[in-house]
């Protein structure tokens, strides 16, 4: 098997055993990037020299007992701050921004021996579902380059799927890890809110944002989550979930697991081929000892409007900091302070970001706050309660990740409303702060990956990963490689 098709853990084991050196693995990935990334455009920045130097250093420090991911190259979404390496957020506003510090998750993967190969493309400030709103151009889906890889962590997803890196760290505010994982045939997990530090993650909607891994399988996700999770004194929303050792506890035993299937997630708008693939997941889990129960969560009908009100409101506040004063882009021409702000922000932000800032400003403005923002907060509360109730009768929820497989480039931006609605299955986990995992469950008639989502109760990452691990022992969809990545 080709080196770049191994899982992260397989490569880690090969490195530890001395079968592959870290510079060899790094070189192989960089060669693959040179060959494919001109057309895929998954990376905004490639750190070839820096990565080779680090690979040499890590190779010298190789000894038994290191992290299972020691020496494994990865990609970081370009909204994670990297000391000395520009962090653009896919925006002209931060085109030349070089953070003076690392995000906590970057420190953690580096301490575990990670080799960062570059920074992954994303929708501007992580606002989008296609990676087409990036100032640096669109990323293409390695399964079919006329299609989007999803978003906003689309660069990371495309790179892992194409075999350019072994894993990536993305961020998920309304589905930005799970949806691209679904479109690209990967396993990705958004952890429980507060599990992973947001320090150094450029904020979009702070009460939803969470960092997580995009990998080739569930075991890799467990290994990465073991590395990045944990309390951080620099992010006061992090909590000690009291777990860890996720990789060690993967057993694949699903006896007694109750899988809930919400009827609201299999209704109108869901493509029949996607529905069939996801229902097949329920049968496989049953075969492994789980029981499947159908249930109804009526509150799911309100999640999209509530999510877009809250996320846009938080975005309009968070993005107020980009004013051309302390860092980032500043317009060249202005006559006074207000004009400097306005020209800087108008020239520095793209259209989708402006739309969300305006929507956020609208729902927070006098006269509309009660009608929109407060109602959305009430929905958030109700969804959290409804999910709590659901987890009294089941241990995990099974849903599709998206209503369809990856759309063509340009299709979604032509109809933003439809794009927002396609987040229906992923946003409930963000509203309720719950962990949710996306895994490949086959392909549609055109050979495009279909994703299934598992949602768990707070700190239920272990249950999700174990269920996905069992599913992946029974099936081989996670080993499918996109055309063009073979050879």
């Amino acid at each position: 098997m080709k080196l770049t098709h191994l899982t992260a853990l397989e490569l880690g084991r090969a490195i530890a055993a001395g079968d592959v050196t870290i510079p060899q693995a790094t070189q192989a990935a960089l060669e693959e990037m040179a060959r494919r990334d001109k057309s895929l455009h998954s990376c905004i920045t490639i750190l070839a020299e820096q990565a080779m130097e680090r690979a040499e250093t890590l190779q010298q420090g190789l000894k038994p007992g290191r992290s299972p991911l020691y020496g494994v190259p990865l990609l970081l979404k370009d909204n994670l701050c990297t000391q000395g390496v520009r962090t653009t957020c896919g925006s002209k506003m931060l085109e030349h921004y070089v953070p003076p510090y690392h995000a906590t998750v970057v420190e953690r993967v580096e301490s575990a021996g990670g080799v960062c190969l570059g920074k992954g493309n994303l929708d501007e400030f992580a606002m989008g579902s296609t990676t087409e709103t990036s100032y640096f151009g669109s990323t293409r889906n390695p399964w079919d380059e006329s299609r989007v890889p999803g978003g906003s962590s689309g660069g990371c997803a495309a790179a892992v799927a194409a075999g350019l890196v072994w894993y990536a760290l993305g961020s998920d505010t309304g589905g930005s890890i799970r949806q691209p994982a679904g479109y690209c045939g990967l396993t990705g997990i958004k952890p429980t809110y507060g599990t992973v530090s947001r320090y150094g993650l450029v904020a979009y909607a702070s009460s939803f944002d969470q960092v997580g891994p995009l990998c080739r399988d569930a075991a890799d996700c467990a290994a990465v989550l073991d590395v990045i999770q944990g309390r951080d004194c620099r992010d006061s929303t992090t909590v000690d979930g009291g777990y860890g050792g996720l990789l060690a506890s993967l057993a694949g035993d699903l006896r007694g697991l109750r899988v809930g299937v919400p009827v609201e997630c299999f209704g109108e708008g869901l493509h029949p081929q996607v529905a069939n693939r996801v229902k097949e997941v329920a049968r496989v889990l049953e075969h492994r000892g789980a029981t499947v129960v159908e249930l109804s969560i009526g509150e799911l009908n309100w999640v999209i409007p509530a999510y877009y009100v809250l996320a846009s409101a938080e975005a309009s506040s968070n993005l107020a900091r980009y004013d051309g004063v302390k860092y980032g882009f500043r317009a060249k021409e202005y006559h006074n302070l207000t004009q400097m702000y306005e020209n800087t922000r108008s020239q520095g932000f793209g259209k989708e970001t402006k739309a969300r800032i305006l929507l956020g400003t609208f729902v927070l403005s006098a006269g509309y706050y009660e009608a929109y923002y407060q109602k959305a907060l009430a929905v958030k509360h109700r969804v959290a309660k409804a999910m709590e109730r659901a987890f009294e009768t089941c241990d995990v929820l099974l849903t599709p990740v998206t209503p369809t497989t990856a759309p063509k480039l340009g299709e979604s931006l032509a109809n933003p409303m439809e794009m927002y609605l396609s987040d229906l299955y992923t946003v409930p986990a963000n509203l309720a702060g719950l962990p949710a995992l996306s895994m490949p469950c086959g392909v549609d008639g055109q050979g495009l990956p279909v994703g299934a989502q598992l949602v768990g109760p707070r700190f239920g990452e272990g249950v999700l990963l174990n269920a996905a691990y069992a599913y992946q022992q029974e099936t081989d969809y996670h080993t499918y490689v996109p055309r063009g990545g073979e050879g």
């Binding site: 921004y97 070089v98 003076p100 507060g194 009460s207 004194c233 006061s236 929303t237 909590v239 309100w302 999209i304 409007p305 509530a306 877009y308 009100v309 309009s316 107020a320 051309g324 004063v325 302390k326 860092y327 980032g328 882009f329 500043r330 006559h335 006074n336 302070l337 207000t338 004009q339 400097m340 702000y341 306005e342 922000r345 108008s346 932000f349 259209k351 402006k354 739309a355 800032i357 305006l358 929507l359 400003t361 609208f362 729902v363 403005s365 009660e370 009608a371 929109y372 407060q374 109602k375 959305a376 009430a378 929905v379 958030k380 509360h381 109700r382 959290a384 309660k385 409303m417 927002y420």
Partner: protein, 96 residues
């Protein structure tokens, strides 16, 4: 609700964005569609949102040395004598 150009213009001013004519047209349409869709929230009864957020664990407010000062300043678009430079904010600051 109808989103008029004037309303979009007011929102843009609150958000410190100056929009071109074309942007105003496009964004007004997009916002109007979105806001119409948000009307479904009116059906949600009650405004209480409870206290679902967990209280944050606070850290002690202690002074710690930071080596970041100069590095942070080096990211500013315009600097003079260790200060960030902006147009005047008083007097000639415009309608801030």
């Amino acid at each position: 609700m109808d989103m008029t150009h004037k309303q979009v213009e007011e929102l843009a001013h609150l958000a410190r964005l100056s929009l071109t004519m074309q942007e105003r047209e496009e964004l007004a349409g997009q916002l109007e569609q979105m806001v119409a869709y948000l009307q479904v929230l009116a059906q949600v009864e009650g405004e209480e949102c409870g206290t679902m957020e967990e209280p944050c664990a606070l850290r002690y407010d202690e002074v710690e040395p930071s080596q970041l000062g100069d590095k942070l300043l080096s990211q500013a678009p315009q600097v003079a004598d260790g200060y960030v430079v902006t147009p005047r904010s008083v007097g000639e600051g415009g309608m801030a």
